[in-house]
Symmetry: D5
Subunit: 135 residues, 10 copies
């Protein structure tokens, strides 16, 4: 289960300036929920709980008071590994957890999932923080 | 014949937020209508009904109340396989069927067809849903 | 000599909607006019009438009442094959002939010519039809 | 059903010389046999007879007395379109049909199939004709 | 734990002919054994048992009496997902399990692991079956 | 019509040494013979004599007494421009004409033709001159 | 320790015109601060003071009165080599030092750091000088 | 020394229409001024007058009354070959000379110089002609 | 100074089988020896001891009794960071140190150094261990 | 004029071992001899002595007693800059000069020249030194 409590932060060393941090994590993996698109999942479910999904997660944000600590982000993303979860929920959950932890001035999360059944999916959630809301 | 009734939807889990879903389907195939550009089609028509066309279909949308179920989309795209249909109609039909099924806040369909007679064609249909119409 | 009369059209099946058609033709060839940049042309001219030029022609348009028929476009582009004609005239002629035949809502022609004398040339002509003129 | 009778040949214009002809056909499609790996196939089977497979077929041969006529090869490859057939059989069947029709001095067939269930398959059949057998 | 019993086979439809089957599986993942190179593993170990490793597994073989069933291969590779195992053992285990199940005429396994600590590792195990041993 | 008399040579400045000259000519064009694969050719034939083919011609040779003069090679390749000629004949003709003009120690000609009817063709003719024949 | 005093400038030869200078430096290296993300750093610290980081630094600016002298920039970037410093500080320090030395009309610094722990980071600092501030 | 008098023009055949001409010249070379960054230049200077620089020059313009003649442009760019000149001056000089010769409606010059001392430089000068000045 | 004593090994888990381990380390850096090719080095030498060099080090070996421990290899390669050493010595030293530590059946070291003064260098040292010597 | 006396060497630090040094020099330029293929050369000749040629020179050798000093190699290659010389002579001259200066165990020189008149040329000279001659 995703564990937002793993996310740690450190004080933004340049809080007076808007600058952008982009992180790309090509090694994200979770499981497909039971009863999902790939019926193979039913069989594997006997072993692990659902068929594996793979994605690259791209995170772009403008920090306000805090930045996310890189190692804690890695552990947080690992915590999806044995979770049965839909694409839309993966990306929106990471977005919600990071917005809550960082309260950034601006944030975008892109989940770029590997091809399944001949179709590739990319989910993008983008929202501005309080300061940029009026733009 | 394209079968829009194959399209199934599930409730958008984050309806309060605008976010984008992009799906690329590199394995689309249909047939060229009889009497079309490639005269070879006439000969093959004796066997299958028209010469094959190949395309990548790219779908981008911002969901409103529902999202398209991935497996049903795959079956829907397969339903063009033995259909004799022009490029323009392929892309506009997919657009119309998905707009009708999803009533999305925004949608773009791109059909990127393989080279024929030394010419490559890409058809793009883009339209905004009710909420974004004023932009 | 370019033969615009070769261009055939068919009624736009979705005239109520703005959508874009892009066609790329990587196999365009014409001849360099006599007395042009490459003096070799003079010698070959004894055989064929000028040195060969090669280009990719990209056509993008938003159809209004008619679309260009793909096979007739191919024959039209072939009709430049043994013509001695400058780059600028190639691209502007294709633009003029297609605008006249299609009366599109919007059209762009790009001629991307192979390197000559260590220099590569790309010519772009873009103009909007009556409806989009005010943008 | 694959139709080897569609294959036509023409006399090799240079039979005294060993030379190689390579043809790549990126638009091959067939169907997955019922009961195959992708259980989705069962559902589509109600519509068309099996889930679609896509491949690039590469053919390399040294002609002896005859060469394969290009257009007839295209029609022959199209004849697999609505056939339920395993990867191994696709490649070995093309090999057998072409060897029978061409009696080439040397032939290789490679079928490079699109990813299915996260795994990509490439099947290669290679055999030498009578003259080269001893190498 | 790797489960070789998941591997299923089907009779080689062309046993009289040597032909090659290549399969590439870009979605392999396992865990780093505890006490391994990445000390972060210790922390995650509290959650899942070790830090994740990612690899592409390439399998090339010449079948003898049987071929590996594609879906069962996928399930077999999934069975490493929550296993703490070194790179060398991953590749040699897959080699041993497939040789035992398929008794192929020839087999090569390549494990191409993602960069760790700034270093990328690729392990290759190759061996010939009884028939090819003398080459 | 191909004009081998256009080929000019100059004395090899280093005849005591085996060295290799490779030339690639990406701008080769000829016409498809009437009655060929593309039935469109019949229509264009009214205008120019056959449908255009495009290819890259690669020439590799080890010179003996003479080298081919680069500009004369260009004029020679241009002389195919309005010729109706099959792929096999293009490559074998260039091979024969160059072998006759250069008597090289070793020569290979590769004609890499653009996709036609969804199929790409590459023809390779390779032969060794007197000195290398025994290798 | 970064040594801004190494930066030398020369008078902008075209001060009446806005033009852009982009410089990319793919060979930046510094050290990870002790106690940072990679615990290996502790061990290496016995030798050199922290684990190495690698980055490409991209600098884009519109010069006002002075331009940065290329060789002095190289020496300045080298001065980070044995410094234990976080990503955010690297990029903001380069930005501050160059703004102070050049007082440019516009400046952007991008630090594109190599993957660490499966995550790649890119930091971007962009700000306009006095003249462009109102844009 | 750059010789702007080498630049020749011909009347724009379509002066009533705004269209864009892009030319890329990947074979630009000049010399580094004596006393420049690379101290090797001092040694070579005994031979030729400075160390060589290499660049790709990209020219984009919207012609007004005249276009630049391609061959004369080539000769003009060659005239920098043995000139000791800084990057900034190369790009601004080409800009000034072409603006003076062509009086274009719009012009951009980009000089993309090869890596020196581990740093790559790209200089961009862009300015609009009288008609577009107010944008 | 390179510290071979940092290299640690673990027993080869499959000593009865020849298999290959390839490791690529794109983050190698050392310093140019004083008085070397880049005279800038003299200036930086005041700061750090020589100008930086960058390389990718590729290691391929067939293990005999032991394999190199990945983390210790990383620390060993880091130990060149502040060493003034020529390219040839870097690659031969790594070769000697690894052969001494691993006594492999076969080993190849490739050092692929970044461009310096417009020239890129790649050094390859390859040697077989006792068992393979007779091949 | 090429100046072989610029080539300097240093003692091979590992003379007991065969190892390979590869150097690629993408910035080679010389002039076309007067009366050569490009008739433009005649015009420029008034200015500089012939039209410019550009090439990448690849050098691979196994050193015996000495290695070539990198900076002296750069100066040697620069000495062709204002020389009117044919492709074949460029490559064979570099080969002869380096063999004479280095007496290597093995050497290959490849000159990869930029496209001229639509044709690209690559010249390869390869020869073994005394020790390897028998291979």
């Amino acid at each position: 289960m995703p564990q937002p409590k793993l996310l740690e932060t450190f004080p933004n060393p340049y809080p007076k300036r808007d600058y952008e941090i982009f992180m790309t994590c090509p090694e994200f993996t979770s499981l497909c929920p039971l009863g999902g698109i790939e019926t193979d999942a039913a069989e594997l479910a006997l072993l692990t709980g659902g068929a594996p999904d793979f994605a690259t997660i791209n995170i772009t944000y403008v920090p306000d008071r805090v930045c996310v600590e890189l190692k804690s982000l890695k552990l947080y993303l690992w915590s999806f590994r044995n979770d049965g979860i839909f694409y839309e929920r993966v990306v929106n959950t990471i977005f919600d957890d990071l917005v809550k932890a960082l309260k950034p001035r601006k944030m975008t999360i892109v989940g770029d999932f590997n091809i399944r059944g001949g179709i590739k999916s990319v989910i993008t959630v983008e929202q501005h923080g309080p300061r940029n809301k009026k733009r």
